[in-house]
């Protein structure tokens, strides 16, 4: 019945699909070339390392959001976790004199505590969204506000700068000539790429995001997987907070604030669909890089602060169009 000829388009189509993760690569190449012409500093190893280091923390949020988006959900509260988890962890360990809560847990616990707080926020989100079947968008929007309040409240909006050493280490250390945060983000992205490609649970995210009923019918433990993804997301956001804390040397009340839009922008221009089931971690990574390079270039060029948003937004639109044209499919 189906003639063999009908099958021929499959092969080029597949190649295209592979490429679809990498539609931003030409954009990145273009940015590198244009940047090199505009500023001699741009293409130096030092500057590019800076870009990577600057994007390390936010890239973890993009990783988290990409996982959540692929499984068809949504998490806005990640940005508040970035500041709140480290802040609360620090308050639990430092003495009252340094602004602490007077609980005085051992300082070595600060990092595990921070990650635990992130995981707990993710778990709570997951609980409301999965068990209560509430809208993910609005739950995590409310949580964005609440979690930020739980940062402002106990710190009274003050910056915490007397931090345990361990809290500062990761964000500041240099391993084998590169900042540790680059290694960490790199390793996690590699794990994400591999996990989503080669693990059953990774593949199940695509199934859940693509057709949740079908996933359930195929025996995937949908609720458990989704919950896990939210917890992982919160944990990654807390880790992003740790890296950022080390980079900045303190925890300000504005840490993470307004990151989430950029996070979505990076994920979506990188090919992750807001409708779930589509996109790759590698694509999301290219999205992060584009945004980092554009920001760096705007800084180097000293574009006036007033007009920066216009230039910046326009470049995002262009990246979007290129990925649309290269990808060939309507976006959603």
């Amino acid at each position: 019945m189906t003639t063999p000829t009908a099958l021929t388009p499959a092969v080029p189509r597949l190649r295209l699909a592979r490429f679809r993760d990498l539609t931003l690569v030409p954009v990145i190449v273009l940015l590198l070339i244009v940047g090199a012409f505009l500023d001699p500093v741009f293409l130096t190893a030092g500057n590019l390392t800076n870009v990577l280091q600057q994007q390390a923390a936010i890239s973890l949020l993009v990783l988290a959001e990409a996982l959540i988006l692929i499984s068809g959900k949504f998490d806005l509260s990640l940005e508040s976790t970035v500041g709140m988890a480290p802040a609360l962890a620090v308050l639990l360990v430092v003495p009252v004199s340094a602004g602490g809560l007077g609980i005085g847990l051992p300082a070595v616990l600060v990092i595990p505590l921070c990650l635990l707080i992130g995981a707990a926020i993710g778990a709570f989100n997951g609980f409301l969204i999965i068990k209560f079947q509430l809208s993910a968008f609005i739950v995590t929007l409310a949580m964005l506000i609440i979690v930020h309040g739980l940062h402002l409240g106990p710190t009274e909006g003050k910056t915490l700068f007397e931090l345990p050493e361990s809290m500062l280490y990761l964000g500041g250390a240099v391993w084998l000539g590169l900042p540790a945060s680059i290694w960490i983000a790199g390793a996690l992205f590699a794990a994400g790429i591999a996990g989503l490609a080669y693990l059953r649970v990774g593949r199940s995210l695509y199934a859940i995001g693509g057709n949740i009923d079908a996933a359930r019918a195929a025996g995937i433990r949908v609720d458990r997987v989704l919950w896990g993804v939210f917890i992982l997301g919160g944990t990654l956001a807390a880790l992003a907070g740790i890296l950022e804390t080390g980079r900045l040397g303190a925890i300000g009340s504005g840490m993470g604030v307004n990151w989430i839009f950029m996070v979505f922008a990076a994920a979506v221009i990188g090919g992750v669909s807001m409708d779930g089931g589509k996109g790759t971690i590698l694509g999301a990574l290219t999205g992060v890089l584009v945004i980092g390079l554009v920001q760096n270039l705007l800084t180097l060029q000293g574009v006036s602060g007033f007009w920066q948003p216009v230039v910046y937004g326009t470049i995002i639109l262009f990246a979007l169009m290129i990925s649309r044209i290269a990808g060939g499919k309507a976006q959603d």
């Binding site: 019945m1 189906t2 189509r13 593949r203 079908a214 996933a215 359930r216």
Partner: protein, 492 residues
């Protein structure tokens, strides 16, 4: 005796609807058991209960005498039962290979994609499904997707397999291959539950049959000593005669015509003219281009060359509103995809394309809409709580009737219907075919695209397409064998 599968006194309610009201089924080991009933009788609901997707409000399910596993224990369910659901469970963004082995891509820890593809290739070959395992499932046609679903369900090695209307989207040869497969499985002792609205299929491969009506169990009997009429009567609850195609004499006026129509990769050089009062069938095997052609006639596609005229006037190509305004009515191929808006009511879906006639100055009068809808519900015998029920809550066949009702809403001069009876029960099928014939009797011309030979019997002539070309114009009075031969390109 212990049955392989048993459901007893199952009650399932959805809000005000009782989908199952103390119904049950008992299937002996190794038999192929048919479940039949009208649209909305509760068949698919029983399927979701037998596969552990939904919990019955009352009643119990047993496998080989053992109580069914807990709802959360998906693995236990999957060992006991595999299923081709009525609703697609294909994930469009994933490849065919992955869809086939969803959640069982590997025994080990890491997925070996090469091995997975090979397994998929092998599985597809076994079932003679000719698709590339690496293609994205979303790029497949309706029929190919269905074949992938079937191949997946049959490949689990489960001892009990449910097939909920697997043939609704398949053409003749594909159905034959499926039946060969099912017979082989039966020889291996596999138990099957088979749901279909094609009763001759029931007689062909099932040993016993259970009839549901209005959410209740009506009867269970061996197929062999059950006359066809009695089965239909059990389903409908009244004496029902077989459908008789009517005789007509088409008038002179051409209401719908296409000339020199070509669309690259789909069909070439199509000439077509439908006269007032004439029903023209469009037949062809899979991928013959018949659906694309029909979609072009109604403006869903734009042809590369050629023109479509309605009542002698050219219609702007690729413009559905223009086609509707010119006097067309149509039923799209896939009701879920293009047919209805699930959240909107029966009334709104049914009157969507005539909304401009239900009020002045851009307004729509809810009262008039309701009145129209009540008439539609009565005319086509739609089983619904009322005009305000969302179409998404209707059973498949009833949703199809709503889509049909909309096509007829404007008393179209020309009617284009694509697979109109897909998933529709015997009685409904009669109603829908009757509606096409009524329209023709009123003076409309109709194009009926179908894979079902029974549907095509009401046509005054059948155009057969093969590889994108109209190869033969067969007048009324053909035999199944004759027509199939043309469709398969065996006979010119």
């Amino acid at each position: 005796m212990t049955y392989h599968v048993e459901a007893r006194n199952v009650v399932k309610r959805f809000g005000p609807t009782t989908a199952l009201d103390g119904a049950g089924i008992s299937i002996a080991e190794g038999e192929t058991h048919a479940l039949v009933g009208r649209n909305g009788a509760g068949k698919s609901t029983l399927v979701s209960i037998l596969t552990g997707l939904q919990r019955p409000d009352e009643g119990e399910v047993r496998f080989s005498g053992e109580p069914a596993p807990a709802l959360g224990d998906r693995d236990a369910w999957r060992q006991r039962v595999a299923c081709v659901y009525q609703k697609s469970t294909i994930i469009p963004a994933l490849t065919v290979a992955e869809n086939l082995f969803l959640n069982r891509q590997t025994e080990g820890r890491l997925i070996n994609w090469r091995a997975l593809r090979a397994r998929a290739r092998e599985l597809l070959d076994t079932y003679e499904v000719d698709v590339d395992p690496q293609a994205l499932a979303g790029d497949l046609g309706v029929e190919q997707r269905q074949l992938v679903e079937i191949a997946r369900a049959l490949s689990f090695g489960a001892r009990f397999i449910i097939l909920d209307e697997p043939t609704a989207r398949l053409d003749g040869p594909a159905i034959e291959r499926l039946f060969d497969r099912m017979r082989a499985l039966r020889r291996q002792g596999v138990t099957m539950m088979y749901i279909s609205h094609h009763l001759d299929e029931v007689y062909e491969i099932c040993q016993s049959v259970t009839v549901f009506r209005d959410a209740r169990h009506i009867m269970t009997a061996p197929v062999a000593d059950l006359p066809h009429d009695e089965l239909v009567d059990a389903m409908t609850g009244e004496a029902t005669a077989a459908y008789q195609a009517r005789a007509r004499t088409p008038r002179e006026a051409v209401v719908l015509a296409a000339s020199g129509l070509s669309l690259a990769g789909r069909y070439q050089d199509v000439e077509l003219s439908v006269r007032s009062g004439e029903v023209v069938g469009l037949a062809g095997s899979g991928s013959s281009g018949k659906v694309s052609l029909a979609e072009t006639l109604v403006g869903l596609r734009r042809a590369d060359t050629g023109a479509v005229t309605v009542n002698g006037r050219a219609v702007r190509p690729g413009d559905v509103p223009a086609a509707l305004a010119a006097g067309l009515g149509f039923v799209p191929e896939d009701r879920h995809h293009q047919g209805f808006v699930p959240l909107l009511s029966v009334a709104e879906n049914g009157t969507m394309s005539i909304a401009h006639k239900l009020g002045r100055l851009g307004a729509v009068s809810p009262a008039r809409r309701r009145a129209r809808a009540v008439r539609m519900i009565q005319d086509l015998d739609i089983k619904t709580e009322g005009p305000d029920q969302p179409v998404g809550d209707l059973s498949g066949g009833n949703a199809q009737k709503v889509v049909f009702a909309r096509a007829l809403a404007d008393d179209p001069d020309a009617l284009v219907v694509i697979n109109p009876t897909a998933g529709v029960d015997v009685k409904a099928k009669q109603a829908l075919l009757g509606a096409v014939e009524d329209a023709a009797d009123r003076g409309a011309g109709a194009v009926l695209v179908s894979d079902e030979l029974d549907d095509l019997r009401i046509c005054d002539r059948v155009l057969v397409m093969f590889h994108g070309r109209v190869v033969k114009d067969v007048p009324r009075g053909w035999s199944d064998h004759e027509l199939v031969a043309v469709m398969e390109g065996i006979e010119e």
